[in-house]
Symmetry: C2
Subunit: 220 residues, 2 copies
Amino acid sequence: MSARPAKERLVEAAFALFAERGYEQTTVDDITDRAGVGRTTFFRTFPTKEDVIFPDHEVLLGAIESRLAGSTDRTALIAVTEAARLVLRHYLAEGERAMTRYRLTRTVPALRDREIAGVQQYQRLFRRFLHRWMGGGPDTALRAELMAGAVVNAHNHVLRRWLRGQASDPEREFDAAMTETVGLFSRPREGAESSIVVFRTSKDLDTVLPELNRLLGEPG
Amino acid sequence: MSARPAKERLVEAAFALFAERGYEQTTVDDITDRAGVGRTTFFRTFPTKEDVIFPDHEVLLGAIESRLAGSTDRTALIAVTEAARLVLRHYLAEGERAMTRYRLTRTVPALRDREIAGVQQYQRLFRRFLHRWMGGGPDTALRAELMAGAVVNAHNHVLRRWLRGQASDPEREFDAAMTETVGLFSRPREGAESSIVVFRTSKDLDTVLPELNRLLGEPG
């Protein structure tokens, strides 16, 4: 018996037992016995056995909300990127526990479904924040949804690569992935009064820019 | 007792009972009694009670795969759009049944999780197809994932609007949503030998295009 909080003892016992016996073969009683904690405490801490696999889910949702809430109009996209980075860092800090969870969610359908539902909750937070940032009107609802989805997918892409041992420097991969993701949405929007001109050229840009400005710039 | 297939009778009975009594309050026995079909037939048709809510999920996955498989390199993006449209049209054709499912997935967590997991399966099909189309290398893995996610999100955005009674012309909204979605990814990729020039101009494009071609076009 240690002085650590009951929640941490339960999580540690649960992950150890799931790794030893498998998720389905482990009962809540097995977990509370190993942790030296009562059943009542378990169910006060986790509504179901599934929840012990994602013990910090609510904490992470709260951390994302705080990070987004602390931004301004100008720093909104940085806030989104940094909020997603908080989640990535949380998993990186978990280390072996994150790897065990990954093995479990790939093999236990109920846990996989639960994880996907959790990802949807992250995505909803980002979508609401981005939509408000874009003005909140119906004309930007889809764009906010696509952007939120892209941020979450980019995060998960890097996280999965790390969980599979394919990413030696996940933070750096995250930077590149977020640059690519935000870049998709950084074009001026179509349908405005002005036109968007996209050209691919092999000419030296410094040479043609003055003439381009003259050609396309606003009159006067 | 009608001559319709057992599967259709089971689905019809299940949706009627779920609407009358609620999902949790309806047992498989209630469904088979109402449908006039045996328990064995139910479980031969649907692995669990949840599956009767998504009776055509496997059919839709197969239809997407066929539509994608019938495309060429040049028609890949059309195939993706049309495959997503197949799914939309399926729901539109269901009508009231799709609305009942939407009410159920919003109120029964197990069904919501199952639906989200099903969406992930669509997304995986699109991701694999798009990644192969992009060459299949590690440099395009993220891009394929983002694009697949965007296609599925755009589809769901329009579908949800229709389910909520907000979209009077869902097919037209789908066209606009897919145009916006594919447009995000239609820029030539950065990092190639040539540069991408993006300009916003209020000038008449037809007037400036010849000079633009002269200015930025390839030598010779």
